[in-house]
């Protein structure tokens, strides 16, 4: 851990800003007047107007220590937490019956969740999201790296290890795709990181290959179609988001290449759980969890025979896809054999 207090005292502002551009945000947040960057923060502040500082409720003494605390938080936010395994320990179903299961999932694994509407698929995702410790209606417990998650960890890990994707999510920022990716990458990388540009480029290209219709980096994120948005969200999850676990709630009908999307997330060594009614996604996973009456009733490893069936199903899916494409382009469907 870097001692930012010493660093801030020892360096001129210009050097500090070069190493940590985020310092500029700190000054903006405090609405500080322009400072002499050739000097150290403490010295530069000596030149700042007393009234100004007083007006904004600041003192010269507290600003350097506030900046040190700020840099400590911002650099900690950068480093994601690696996860080596996720364990689901069964609780009870809606009638109170015990689940009696213990499932370990490792990075690079895709698990699908199937079951009738209202059976409790989203509930299971919810349990994982909040790292349940027997305190949700299902009484399930979630372990990370084989260990129980303490109360403190649960709060500190909030939003850090679990990413979510669902049909209800939209982009709301008034930014272009390029600006958007840059902003997300920037929120993760505090120091200067040369590879951010490469990461953004890969992510953009990948999103485009997942989407049915192509889009440019200059497109506003709010103007993307449903399918394009989903494609960008998935690529962003794979390349830029730091979360080790990705929870997907029904992205079927999204107009993206679903199989490729899931494969992409698995490749990036994430743990992927996907609640779905889509047979291709269900069978495309390594395992599937079957939910009945709120409880996990079975965990099935996708067999070799099922993988073979999947190949046949994909042909049917391709046929439907091509039919749709032909119809969209104004064509006619007279001979299925040619599709």
């Amino acid at each position: 851990m870097i001692d930012f207090g010493n660093l801030i005292a020892a360096q001129p502002l210009s050097a500090l800003l070069a190493d940590y551009p985020v310092v500029r945000d700190f000054f903006l947040n405090l609405n500080l007047p322009p400072l002499n960057e050739a000097k150290s923060l403490a010295d530069a502040l000596l030149e700042a107007d007393d009234d100004w500082l007083l007006e904004f409720g600041l003192t010269r003494e507290e600003i350097p220590s506030q900046l040190a605390a700020f840099l400590t938080t911002m650099t900690a936010a950068e480093s994601g937490r690696a996860v080596t395994s996720l364990t689901i320990i069964g609780g009870r179903d809606k009638s109170g019956g015990a689940e009696n299961i213990e499932l370990h999932i490792e990075p690079g694994t895709v698990v699908s969740i199937v079951g009738p509407t209202g059976s409790g698929k989203s509930r299971l995702l919810g349990d994982i999201e909040c790292l349940a410790q027997g305190d949700t209606p299902t009484a399930r417990r979630i372990l990370i790296d084989g260990a129980e998650v303490t109360e403190d960890d649960r709060f500190n890990l909030e939003g850090k290890i679990v990413a979510q994707l669902s049909q209800n999510m939209n982009f709301v920022m008034d930014l272009t795709v390029a600006e958007f990716l840059e902003m997300h990458a920037r929120s993760r990388a505090v120091g200067v990181s040369g590879d951010a540009d490469a990461l953004i480029k890969t992510c953009f290209e990948c999103a485009n290959s997942l989407a049915g219709e192509k889009f440019t980096p200059e497109t506003k994120v709010t103007q993307l179609s449903g399918g394009q948005s989903r494609a960008l969200m998935i690529a962003d999850c794979a390349y830029i988001s730091q979360s080790a676990i990705v929870l997907i709630d029904e992205i079927e009908n999204a107009g993206v290449d679903r199989r490729e999307a899931i494969a992409l997330l698995a490749q990036s060594e994430k743990i992927v759980l996907i609640s779905t009614h889509d047979p291709l996604l269900a069978l495309g996973a390594d395992k599937r969890i079957v939910i009945k009456n709120g409880g996990i009733s079975a965990i099935i490893d996708t067999s070799a025979e099922e993988k073979a069936s999947l190949v046949e199903l994909e042909k049917i899916d391709r046929l439907l896809y091509n039919t749709r494409k032909t119809l969209r382009a104004g064509g006619q469907i007279n001979d299925l054999g040619t599709l």
């Binding site: 938080t73 709060f155 994707l165 999510m169 997300h184 929120s187």
Partner: protein, 226 residues
């Protein structure tokens, strides 16, 4: 009795968060709602069976009004056997914060309000122990992450929690923090975490006319460029 202060910009979801929190706490909750001119929340709290007092600051500075009346709220809570007293303040300007040293403080912000909003909100967010982000379920994961980063920029020590004001997802994590709040019997000699405005001018006492002739008391003049 425990006490928490809840603040946040208008329509950020404060009342919904408090209602979901109350469901999750399963204790006697009492709410004192501070607002400026009108408040629509009484019916919602009543419908949920939560005792509520409404304080409208009217022509007084809402921030000064809050400080002058918050102690009375504590006495009301104690008289009525309340377990957790919650003050909800909506009428405050972004200049101020109702947060009190030693009292668990919550700021509610809306994920739809723009990624830089947390950095603009000021002391209400900067001095909060817990920042609750609402409506995060309908924005992309990336925007949620950027939003949380923006909150961290403004307040690095706050606990950031996502709460869905409709389904209540996340409310129970918030309830765990609320249960850690200190027991109090009075606020006398407690301190605000941030100063209230120092102004005492003609407009503070009801003047509405514009012009040098009417401007009296403590005030500040802008220096416009030529």
């Amino acid at each position: 009795m425990k006490m928490i202060t809840v603040a946040g910009p208008p329509s950020s979801g404060k009342t919904s968060v408090i209602l979901r929190l109350a469901e999750s706490l399963k204790l006697n909750i009492g709410v004192v709602k501070f607002d400026c001119l009108t408040s629509f929340d009484k019916a919602r709290y009543k419908a949920a069976g939560i005792p509520v007092q409404i304080g409208l600051s009217g022509k007084f500075c809402p921030d000064h009004f809050f400080v002058n009346n918050v102690e009375g709220g504590v006495s009301w809570g104690l008289r009525n056997g309340i377990d957790v007293l919650i003050t909800e303040s909506a009428g405050l300007c972004n200049r101020c914060s109702p947060h009190i040293t030693g009292i668990t403080s919550v700021c509610v912000v809306d994920a739809l309000s723009g990624v830089h909003t947390p950095r603009k909100i000021g002391p209400m967010l900067k001095f909060a122990d817990i920042v609750v982000v609402t409506k995060g379920d309908i924005v992309s994961q990336a925007e949620r992450e950027v939003f949380a980063w923006s909150v961290k920029q403004a307040n690095g020590s706050a606990q950031v929690l996502s709460v869905n004001g409709i389904t209540g997802q996340g409310a129970f994590m918030l309830s765990k923090k609320v249960l850690e709040a200190r027991e109090i019997t009075s606020l006398t000699d407690s301190r605000l975490r941030f100063t209230t405005p120092a102004a005492a001018c003609a407009y503070c006492t009801g003047e509405t006319r514009i012009g040098e002739n009417y401007q009296m008391g403590m005030m500040r003049k802008m220096e416009y460029e030529i």
